[in-house]
Amino acid sequence: MSNAEPSPSEIAEREEDFALHSLAEKHAADRRYKASKEELLHFYEQMLLIRRFEEKAGQLYGLGLIGGFCHLYIGQEAVAVGLQSALKGGLDSVITGYRDHGHMLAYGIDPKVIMAELTGRHSGISKGKGGSMHMFSVEHGFYGGHGIVGAQVPLGSGLAFAHKYREDGGVTLAYFGDGAANQGQVYESFNMASLWKLPIIFVIENNQYAMGTAVSRSSAETHFYRRGTAFRIPGMQVNGMDVLEVRKAAEIAIEHVRGGNGPVLMELNTYRYRGHSMSDPAKYRTREEVQGVREKRDPIEHAKTELMEMGVAEASLKEIDKRVRASVGQAADFAESSPEPDASELYTDVLVETY
């Protein structure tokens, strides 16, 4: 059999198969973005800002200044920073679920208005009416911040639809987790996005746990990057703990999508150090497991080591840390001292128009 010439249908099949793997192969051939020292310093600072911001949010939650649900992004910083650094600001769109603070910070949105939203104050980005899970910045092309698991996937496909409809060349990045990846609407979106060749990158942030359920206990196919195959969406598996690998993968995916070739599905393997939300007792995993990732795979430590290898002095890294802490401190002060929304705000923004 091995000597037999492949039939035309076999060749066609192999070519199609190749099309679905081609991005992964392209990435395998050149895994990491070659960042300049300045670029990597910038990524480092952004990741550190997310980390320190989230740590502070955790503290404010403990003090009772932040209420309700609060989902921290600690451990996953390289994903948002690596991906969003490859986007075109002012053109492309980003949408995510409820674990959204990091994505906003990675987009350069002022930490003050994010923190003030967490504390439910008038100067928060949603005037204190949205809270941790519902934040938006249309100005930055950040479309939320959605509290229903998986809802952001068709919504993101709609944003991509709008880019295609307007022919503005923009692409959409729609983030969701390994948990949301089991929602039916995700596959409805895959189908239409592929059918209509929408310019969208579906980003599965696989942090290994859907709330407290490990992926192996909730998913028949734990290789999430393969889940677009049935819809002819090429998949990519990416180490989400390495900001330069993420950045490179983003460039490959964006080039494909912006070229009018339809969607890409990326699985970013990452890890959430903290609980699902602030009320998570974390009985589903061991301290050793978390500690192991922190020590061996931490994205910020990884970038720090690399920077030092590039000849960046420890003092300048300390300087960055200081700057980030100061910025987060100011954000926290602002969030604590800003007034609550005026009582009249209860009735505003329900509808845009008056009828």
Binding site: K129, E139, P154
Partner: protein, 494 residues
């Protein structure tokens, strides 16, 4: 033995049709499956096939004849050994031919005893034996009445003072009015597009989007897969991204799959974002009971959506309101649920011939003035209310009928003003009674109109059961004129 070939019912709503063209002539041998004729229904031109083999004896109804009633003998087939001439001597008189009488199409005719004015997505365009037989049987027994027949009405709403004086009026169906509204808004604003199941190539499951694909092309008239949750989300996202989507649900029963996006994604966005992210999407499609489609396909979702802050909910009755309010809905910066009614699509009303007929959202309309008692209703209930009002006028009870038109925001002022005038009220709603729009109106009267009440406000709603299939039970479940009359008399203590 000659066999009669009768005018088939090619859709559940078809009462009559046009025999557009004979594809056989007298004396032709035909076999089962051969196309005998082309027949135009109110929705499409369809091929009519021979059920059996035989020889065409006589073509009783000439081609081009309009208004041929379902069940009319249109041809006689001769048996195998029969003479054509023998078969020709038909005992049946030829039907009255109303050749090329145009307005015959889409006549609103759902009075008792008439055929139900019900439409359903036609999956099967071929007229098969059973369908044709069933139709002629039905006709023979004159047993066409179903529960939805009692929702019919021939009485038109009073002319609205929103229409400028002296404007020329034309007759149009609600279906045409809706299509024209969309077409006009699509011409006006490039951002407007329509998506949904069968909206493009099929021309709309209920023909509401007829001709839009031809004019606007596949970029703006988009057939979706059967995936309500997904495409409702895509439409909502496209609105967030700056477009003006019209999302059609084949019926609102199927929107239950998508209700999360309507409520959690569309309705709450503006509030949750502190007013910075808008969601100007229109979700539209038929709502409420349809004929003989039973519980899962017959429900009024008006009260569901009207309970959600952040949504605008519109449920028009006549063609003028359907057009003027759909145009307003498309232009609105807010998410709108636009509830149409399958049984009303084919009804004809006066429609003003205006270049830009846009009506205000959130305003009720007095469709009949009266002094004795107020009936508040919306959508198909308005027709039932007008019928009841007409009958009651004969007994000296002058009923004022208020059509809410918009269910959210509700025009409390008009309701309360009418109550102040008549001091008595009945709410007529084709929908479940519990937690209904009727409940809401009654609450408003208690809270803000108590001193104006001379009698308790009553409601006439469907029975509190899933809609049954059997015709007799369906009739018992749905509102009708008699129930409305009884309630009106009760609040008048008569």
């Amino acid at each position: 033995m000659p066999v009669e070939v009768k005018m088939p019912a090619l859709s559940p709503t078809m009462e009559e049709g046009k025999l557009a063209k004979w594809l056989v002539k007298e004396g032709d041998e035909v076999s089962s499956g051969d196309v005998l004729a082309e027949i135009e229904t109110d929705k499409a031109t369809m091929e009519f096939e021979a059920v059996d083999e035989g020889k065409v004896g006589k073509l009783v109804v000439p081609e081009g004849t309009d208004g041929v009633k379902v069940g009319t003998v249109i041809a006689i087939m001769a048996g195998e050994d029969e003479d054509v001439s023998e078969a020709s001597s038909s005992p049946e008189p030829a039907p009255q031919a109303k050749a090329d009488e145009q307005p015959a199409k889409e006549k609103p005719k759902a009075k008792k005893g008439g055929a139900p004015k019900v439409e359903e997505p036609e999956k099967d365009l071929k007229a098969d034996e059973s369908k044709a037989d069933k139709a002629s049987e039905k006709d023979d027994k004159a047993e066409l009445e179903t529960g939805t027949t009692q929702l019919g009405s021939d009485i038109k709403p009073a002319k609205s003072d929103e229409v400028p004086h002296g404007v020329n009026m034309k007759t149009a169906t609600v279906r045409e009015a809706l299509r024209d509204a969309m077409a006009e808004e699509m011409r006006r604003d490039e951002r407007v597009f329509i998506m949904g199941e069968e909206v493009a190539e099929y021309q709309g499951a209920y023909k509401v989007t007829q001709g839009l694909l031809e004019e606007f092309g596949p970029k703006r008239v988009i057939d979706t897969p059967i995936t309500e949750y997904g495409f409702a989300g895509i439409g909502t996202g496209a609105a967030m991204g700056g477009l003006r989507p019209i999302v059609e649900f084949m019926t609102f029963n199927f929107a239950m799959q998508a209700i999360d996006h309507i409520i959690n994604s569309a309705a709450k966005t503006n509030y949750m974002s502190g007013g910075q992210m808008r969601c100007p999407v229109v979700f539209r499609g038929p709502n409420g009971a349809a004929a003989r489609v039973a519980a899962q396909h017959s429900q009024n979702y008006g009260p569901w959506y009207a309970s959600v802050p952040g949504l605008v909910v519109i449920a028009p009755y006549d063609a003028s309101d359907a057009k003027g309010l759909l145009k307003a809905a498309i232009r609105s910066e807010d998410p709108v649920v636009f509830l149409e009614n399958e049984l009303v699509y084919g009804r004809s009303f006066e429609l003003p011939e205006l270049d830009d007929h846009v009506l205000p959202i959130g305003k009720a309309r007095i469709v009949r003035e009266g002094t004795s008692v107020t009936i508040v209703s919306y959508s198909i209930g308005v027709g039932v209310s007008l019928e009841a009002a007409e009958k009651l006028a004969g007994e000296g009870i002058e009923v004022e009928v208020v059509d809410l038109r918009t269910l959210r925001p509700l025009d409390k002022a008009t309701v309360l003003e009418s109550l102040k005038k008549t001091n008595r009220m009945v709410v007529v709603e084709e929908g479940f009674p519990v937690c209904s729009i009727a409940s809401e109106i009654i609450t408003i009267c208690m809270e803000e109109g108590f001193d104006d009440l001379d009698a308790p406000v009553l409601r006439v709603c469907d029975e509190d059961v899933p809609l049954p299939y059997a015709a007799n039970l369906e009739k018992a479940a749905l509102i009708d004129v008699d129930r409305v009359i009884a309630a009106v008399k009760k609040v008048c203590y008569r």
